[in-house]
C-alpha cells in the first residue's frame, strides 16, 4: 500500500521512500523516513493535495508524491 491509498484517519509505518534524489532528500528533511509513523489527516476536493502528519509535523503533498511512499504495518487510529 502507498500513502496515497491510506484511508483518512489511519496510521501506518513508512517502509520505503521512492522517487528521484532531490525529491527524496526533501521528503527526508520533512521527516518522511523509513520506519516513521504517518497518518493522512484529510484530503482536499477534486484530486487536490492531502494533509499528512509525521511526528509533530503536518505536511501537505500531492497525491502523485504520496504514491511514492510505501507503507507497511497498519492499525486503526483510536
Amino acid at each position: 500500500m502507498t500513502l496515497e491509498q491510506l484511508p483518512t484517519g489511519q496510521r501506518a509505518l513508512i517502509a520505503e521512500v521512492q522517487g528521484e534524489d532531490g525529491l527524496r532528500a526533501r521528503m527526508l528533511a520533512l521527516g518522511l523516513r523509513a520506519g516513521r509513523e504517518v497518518a493522512v489527516i484529510r484530503r482536499a476536493n477534486l484530486g487536490g493535495p492531502i494533509q499528512v502528519r509525521v511526528g509533530s509535523t503536518d505536511l501537505m503533498m500531492r497525491r502523485k508524491e504520496a504514491s511514492l511512499i510505501q507503507l507497511t504495518v497498519i492499525e486503526t487510529l483510536r
Binding site: 522517487g19 532531490g22 525529491l23 532528500a25 526533501r26 521528503m27 527526508l28 528533511a29 520533512l30 521527516g31 523516513r33 520506519g35 516513521r36 489527516i41 484529510r42 482536499a44 476536493n45 477534486l46 484530486g47 487536490g48 493535495p49 494533509q51 509525521v54 511526528g55 509533530s56 509535523t57 503536518d58 505536511l59 501537505m60 503533498m61 500531492r62 502523485k64 508524491e65
Partner: protein
C-alpha cells in the same frame, strides 16, 4: 570584523531571532558571487562589533534549490567565526538532521532550540544538555517570539564568539552523504520526549473548520474580504485626517512663507512638490494598516492553508498552491512576491508564477483605487467596487496562466509544511508595520518626488499658457496618445497620469493633483466632476492590469535572467489592460445609451 551566520530550516523563527538580536536594524547586503541579497546587521556583542548575516532557510545541504545553493556558496567562500543554527524544538525528530549535516562542515556551532513555548505547551521535553553533550556543541532552549531564554542564547553566542577564529566550510563535507539517519534516530530517542498524543488541539480544531471541503474556500475569501473592508473602513478617515492636516499646514505656514517668491516658483513648490508629495503621504495610514493586517495573516499560518485549498485549482492552470500564496503576498507589494518564487525549482513553474504576480493588486494600486472610488462612487458602493477590482485581479492572473501554461510547463512536486496556527504579538505587528512603511517611503519617495516634478514641468511649460491646457507639453503629448486612450474612455489629462504610473503607481494620484493644480482635499471633487463612473472604472481597470512599476520590471528581469521573458511580461499586461478597458467601456457605453 567578526562574522556570525544564522542558519536553519524555513519557518523556524530565524527572522524573529534576528530582529530581536539586532533591534531590527538590518540592511540588505550584496555578497560577492551571490545572485540574491542577504540580510545583515552590525551589532555590538561583548564589546565588539560583529556582523550578523541571515542566510535563507534550507532543508538540507545537499539540495538543489536556489536557496540551498546560495547557502553552500556562502559557507564555502566567506570565512565565518560562528554558525548560529536555529531549530524548531517541537520538530527535532526531523530538524536535527540539518544540524548533523552542518556539524560535518567543521565550523564552530551554537544550536538554539526555538519555540520552547510551543514545545512546553505540547508537552514535549528536550534534554538539551544531554543533546549538547552528545552533539559536542552548546545547546540553548529559547523562545525568540516571547523572549524566554533569549539572554542565555545571547550570552552563549558572545562567549563563543570571543575567541573564535574565522573559517570557511570544508567543501568536501557538502558531498559527504549520510549514514546520518541511524545516528539521528538514536539521538532523538535519547533526548527528545514527545507525549503519545502531542496536543495541537487548537490547530486541529481550526483546521477542521478552515480546511473544510465545502466551506474552506468561501471562508478564506470571506476572511480576505473582511481584511480589505477593515483596511478601507479604518483607513479612509485617517487618510482624510492627514490630508486635512497637510492642507492646513500649507495654507497656514507654507503659502504665506512663499508669498514673496515669483509665481512660477510658488506654483512649482506648492502645486508641484507640496501637493504631489502630500497626496502620496496622505496614503501612509492605509499602507500601514494594510501591512499590519497582511502581516497577521501571513504570520498566522493561514497562507499555507490557502495553498492547500487552492492547489487542485492552481494545478489545472499549470501552477501550484505556492503560486497562489505568492499571488496573495503580491497584494502587499509585487517585488518581494516575485523574489519569493525562488523556492520553486522548475523554471516553467517559476516563470509562469512570475508572469501572474504583477496582476496582484498591490498596496500602491490600492491607493489609486481608494482615492478614485471614494471620489466617484457612493459610500455604499465603494467597498463593492474595490472588491470587484480584487476579483478582476485574480481573473487577469488566471486567464494569463491558462494562456501561457503550455509554453511554461512544469512537473514540480509540491511538499509544504502546514505550521500550527500562531498569532503575532503586538510587538511583532508594530515592528512589521514600521519596517514596511519605512521601506515604502524609502523606495517610493525618490520616484514620487521625481515624478511629480516632471509632471509639474510637463503640465506648466510653456509658462505663458494655461496650465495643463492643450498648449502645454503634457497637452501635446496627450493629444498624440489620444487615439489610443479615447476608445477606452480615458481623457487626455488622465492619460498623462497613466504615463507616470508606469514608473510607480504611487505617482498617479500625486500626478493628478499636479495636473489639476489641486490640493489633497479639493482633488476628489474635481475628479468627480471630470469623470463619470464608467470612465472612472475603465481608468481603474487599466491601472490594475498594466505594468505595476519600474521596480517590478527590474526584479522580473533580475529573477528571470531573460530579456525575452521580461518583454513578454511587460507587453502582455499592457495589451490585456487595453483590451479589458476597451470591452468594459464600449459595453457600458452601449448599455447606458440603450
Amino acid at each position: 570584523m567578526k562574522r556570525i551566520a544564522l542558519l536553519g530550516m524555513p519557518n523556524t523563527g530565524k527572522s524573529t531571532f534576528f530582529n530581536r538580536l539586532t533591534g531590527a536594524s538590518a540592511r540588505v547586503g550584496n555578497w560577492p558571487g551571490l545572485t540574491v541579497d542577504l540580510l545583515s546587521a552590525r551589532i555590538l556583542l561583548a564589546a565588539e562589533m560583529v556582523e550578523l548575516v541571515d542566510l535563507p532557510g534550507i532543508y538540507n545541504l545537499h539540495g538543489y534549490s536556489e536557496d540551498e545553493q546560495v547557502v553552500r556558496h556562502f559557507l564555502e567562500h566567506n570565512p565565518i567565526d560562528l554558525l548560529v543554527v536555529i531549530a524548531n524544538a517541537t520538530q527535532l525528530d526531523r530538524q536535527l538532521s540539518l544540524v548533523l549535516q552542518l556539524k560535518e562542515l567543521g565550523l564552530p556551532i551554537v544550536l538554539l532550540l526555538n519555540m520552547a513555548d510551543e514545545a512546553r505547551r505540547q508537552g514535549i521535553r528536550v534534554e538539551h544538555e544531554k543533546l549538547g553533550q552528545t552533539l559536542g556543541l552548546p545547546v540553548v532552549m529559547m523562545s525568540a517570539k516571547y523572549g524566554q531564554g533569549f539572554p542565555q542564547a545571547k550570552q552563549t553566542i558572545e562567549h563563543l564568539q570571543k575567541d573564535a577564529v574565522a573559517r570557511t566550510a570544508d567543501p568536501a563535507a557538502f558531498a559527504r552523504d549520510d549514514e546520518l539517519e541511524a545516528r539521528l534516530e538514536r539521538l532523538v530517542s535519547n533526548t527528545v520526549h514527545v507525549p503519545v498524543s502531542a496536543s495541537q488541539g487548537l490547530t486541529n480544531r481550526l483546521d477542521r473548520v478552515l480546511l473544510h471541503p465545502l466551506f474552506g474556500l468561501p471562508l478564506f475569501l470571506l476572511a480576505m474580504y473582511i481584511v480589505f473592508e477593515a483596511v478601507y473602513t479604518a483607513g479612509t478617515p485617517l487618510q482624510d485626517g492627514v490630508a486635512w492636516l497637510l492642507d492646513a499646514f500649507k495654507e497656514g505656514y507654507v503659502a504665506p512663507l512663499l508669498g514673496g517668491a515669483n509665481l512660477e516658483l510658488q506654483s512649482f513648490l506648492l502645486e508641484g512638490v507640496y501637493n504631489g508629495v502630500g497626496t502620496v503621504l496622505s496614503f501612509l495610514p492605509i499602507i500601514v494598516l494594510f501591512f499590519l493586517f497582511m502581516g497577521v495573516i501571513e504570520d498566522s499560518g493561514y497562507l499555507s492553508r490557502s495553498a492547500f485549498l487552492m492547489d487542485a485549482f492552481m494545478a489545472r492552470l499549470g501552477l501550484d498552491g505556492r503560486s497562489f500564496v505568492m499571488q496573495l503576498m503580491g497584494f502587499g507589494c509585487n517585488v518581494p512576491a516575485l523574489m519569493g518564487t525562488r523556492v520553486m525549482r522548475s523554471r516553467g513553474l517559476r516563470l509562469l508564477t512570475m508572469l501572474i504576480i504583477p496582476f496582484s493588486l498591490c498596496s500602491a494600486r490600492l491607493q489609486v483605487f481608494v482615492f478614485v472610488t471614494t471620489a466617484v462612487f457612493s459610500p455604499a458602493a465603494a467597498p463593492l467596487v474595490l472588491f470587484s477590482l480584487y476579483v478582476m485581479s485574480f481573473f487577469a492572473a488566471f486567464l494569463t496562466a491558462a494562456l501561457y501554461r503550455r509554453r511554461l510547463p512544469n512537473d514540480e512536486p509540491l511538499l509544504l509544511e502546514l505550521p500550527p496556527y500562531r498569532f503575532p504579538t503586538a510587538r511583532q505587528m508594530l515592528l512589521r508595520g514600521w519596517q514596511e512603511s519605512r521601506q515604502f517611503l524609502k523606495e517610493a519617495s525618490g520616484f514620487i518626488l521625481l515624478g511629480v516634478v516632471l509632471v509639474w514641468f510637463l503640465t506648466h511649460y510653456p509658462f505663458e499658457v494655461q496650465p495643463a491646457s492643450s498648449a502645454t507639453l503634457a497637452g501635446q503629448l496627450a493629444e498624440w496618445m489620444a487615439p489610443l486612450f479615447a476608445p477606452i474612455g480615458i481623457d487626455n489629462l488622465m492619460s498623462i497620469a497613466l504615463l507616470f504610473g508606469f514608473v510607480a503607481k504611487e505617482v498617479v494620484i500625486g500626478a493628478l493633483a499636479v495636473i489639476y493644480g489641486a490640493s489633497e482635499s479639493a482633488l476628489p471633487g474635481i475628479i468627480a466632476a471630470q469623470l463619470g463612473w464608467i470612465e472612472a472604472y475603465s481608468f481603474m481597470l487599466f491601472v490594475l492590469i498594466y505594468t505595476p512599476c519600474l521596480s517590478t520590471i527590474a526584479v522580473l528581469k533580475k529573477e528571470s535572467k531573460s530579456g525575452w521573458f521580461t518583454v513578454v511580461a511587460v507587453i502582455w499586461p499592457l495589451t490585456l489592460a487595453w483590451l479589458v478597458s476597451f470591452v468594459f467601456y464600449q459595453t457600458a457605453q452601449a448599455l447606458t445609451a440603450a
